[in-house]
Amino acid sequence: MNIVVTVKQVPDTWAEKKLDASDRTTDRKSVDNVMNEMDEYGVEEALRIKEAHGGEVTVVTMGPQKAVETIRKALSMGADKAVHLTDDALHGSDALQTSKALAKVIATLSPDLVITATEASDARGGVMGALLAERLGLPQLTLARKVTVDPAAGTVQIERQADNGYALVEASLPAVVGVVEKINEPRYPSFKGIMAAKKKPLTTLGVGEAGLDASEVGLASAGSKVDDAEPRPPRQSGTIVKDEGDGGAKIAEFLATQKLI
């Protein structure tokens, strides 16, 4: 199995996220940056499939130079090699442009399986799996809480998470699978893995080398634009409802005023 897994470096999940005042893109300089937590599940699943069926796991990311830290983490978990698409021209790309650029890179790797997370914790668009599948012309199996690959039959079957249970969905390979956090427990890299990571092959591509035109990507030609942003309002102090026999009604009343029910 030739497995490609996409990862993204994002501002630390627990840090307050800000936009850069000059161009309203994500501010990555004032915070620690980490691998998108949900991507760890994708990497873990890719490694488990490889351990079961053999093959190779290639990590693909698009991001600034610093995103190499996230690549290194995936490699230290056990991925075999990586491709890092990095170029100043990519700065400010939206989801559509990102999917175009990533699909270009992934297509050259001829994968049997592409694994993505359901969403990244910064933009939380949750569309990359679907966009990549369309761009690559592959079937998409999203919200997978379990993945079963049958390389001999050339199929992949998933349990697709639904509100009231799950749906069994099957597709022929190659395919794009998006995984949810329930799917596994990502491993922690071992020190041996950390040491081995720096010796693993890493290909760094600029826009031109990836076969992209600089005018197709980046902030200037993005299909969506951030006009303005407001910081999250400070948290209001809570309301304490004292139960004098009518606690339930009072809570329902409160929820109704908040338009929650």
């Binding site: 290194r72 230290s76 491993r187 922690y188 020190f191 041996k192 950390i194 040491m195 990571a197």
Partner: protein, 383 residues
């Protein structure tokens, strides 16, 4: 923010163990402390990451890292739970290290793979009711009889000696009396399960509740002559050389605890409001925390220095003693101050600082008291 003194690999290891400590160790630390139970599930997770094999070469199942790497892991674990950190420290420095340093090839092959994988734990039995820093007080004896050592005696306060996965104890014993009347002390490997060897009930300790500590009894314990570890008569001297590096590891543990006290105090001082403002806005509290941070920073610098010297093959005896002395006292002071900052809540076991306070005191005692550290430093100064 990454520490500029660390290499990329050291920083990756540090942050990986920090994630593990936050996600796996911290959530169960309070429960294991309260119940005084050994955290097998946490130790298994540490084993999977290869932490027990960190400073050992790959040919023996190790990770091929160095002692500095082990110290970084110990510090991060201690930020969540000192018991878990000492389990790793004792497993590596006292259980496996003597065998790696002084063992024959056969002994290394027999034990190190299991110890490095974390599947088995080893313990070192040195301390006795009448012998700690004073080796002359050792009463445990080992006599050769028909190609076997016959061991009799008892040991006190032995870490990792009674878990379900403890597979060996290396014990120091008097093997002869020298011509000058001094005792000849040697180290002998005793596999768990050898008839006559037993671990007594666990101690009731002030802290380190989730760390496994027992008294040991040897009653006509017979092991093959080949279980002698290192040169006959060098048992105590060999162990002292192991303790030099163990001090750096204890220092790292103390820094982790001191840092945890800073972290908890900052969170609490921001959240706790009295007289209409967070208590951290009062200089009486803010200055305490500034001093705690300073102590932690200096203590970390001291152990980084000792560990770097050791890694570079330079003398580090004095620096290790300085790091152990300063950081253990920093940990005790920080724990006391953090408890004070938390007020009444600091005396409640549900707050981690209460556990840190109980866990801190042993750091000024174990692996050489503060007084012994001063003695070592003074001797290095030619006094």
């Amino acid at each position: 923010m990454p520490d500029t003194r660390l290499t990329d690999e050291q920083e990756s290891l540090r942050s990986t163990v920090a994630d593990f400590a936050r996600e796996v160790v911290a959530p169960v630390a309070g429960r294991h402390d309260e119940d005084q139970t050994f955290p097998y599930e946490v130790v298994e997770g540490m084993a999977k990451m290869g932490l027990f094999g960190l400073p050992f070469p790959e040919e023996y199942g190790g990770m091929g890292g160095d002692f500095f790497a082990l110290c970084l892991a110990i510090e991060e674990l201690a930020r969540a739970d000192s018991s878990v950190a000492i389990t790793l420290e004792a497993g590596c420095c006292l259980g496996a290290m003597p065998i790696y340093r002084f063992g024959t090839e056969a002994q290394k092959q027999e034990w190190l793979h299991r110890l490095c994988s974390g599947e088995a734990l080893g313990a070192f039995g040195l301390t006795e009711p009448d012998a700690g820093s004073d080796a002359g007080g050792t009463r445990t004896t080992a006599v050769l009889d028909g190609g076997e050592w016959v061991i009799n005696g008892s040991k006190s306060f032995i870490t990792n000696s009674g878990t379900d996965i403890t597979k060996l104890v290396t014990a120091t014993a008097v093997t002869a009396t020298r011509d000058d009347g001094q005792k000849e002390i040697s180290s002998i490997i005793v596999p768990v399960g050898t008839p006559g060897f037993s671990a007594g009930p666990p101690y009731s300790k002030v802290g380190w509740h989730a760390s496994d500590t027992h008294p040991l009894t040897f009653a006509d314990v017979r092991v093959p002559e080949a279980n002698l570890l290192g040169t006959r008569g060098r048992g105590y001297a060999n162990f002292l050389s192991i303790l030099d590096e163990g001090r750096i590891a204890i220092s790292a543990l103390a820094v982790g605890l001191a840092q945890a006290c800073v972290d908890e105090s900052i969170t609490y001082a921001r959240a706790r409001t009295q007289f209409g403002r967070p208590i951290g806005a009062n200089q009486a509290i803010a200055f305490k925390i500034a001093e705690m941070e300073t102590r932690t920073h200096v203590a970390r610098t001291a152990y980084y220095d000792a560990a770097s010297r050791m890694a570079a093959g330079r003398p580090f005896k004095k620096e290790a003693a300085i790091a152990k002395l300063f950081s253990s006292e920093a940990a005790v002071t920080n724990a006391r101050e953090a408890t004070q900052i938390h007020g009444g809540y600091g005396f409640m076991n549900e707050f981690p600082v209460a556990r840190h306070w109980r866990d801190s005191k042993i750091l000024e005692i174990g692996e050489g008291t503060s007084e012994v550290q001063k003695l070592l430093i003074a001797r290095q100064l030619g006094l």
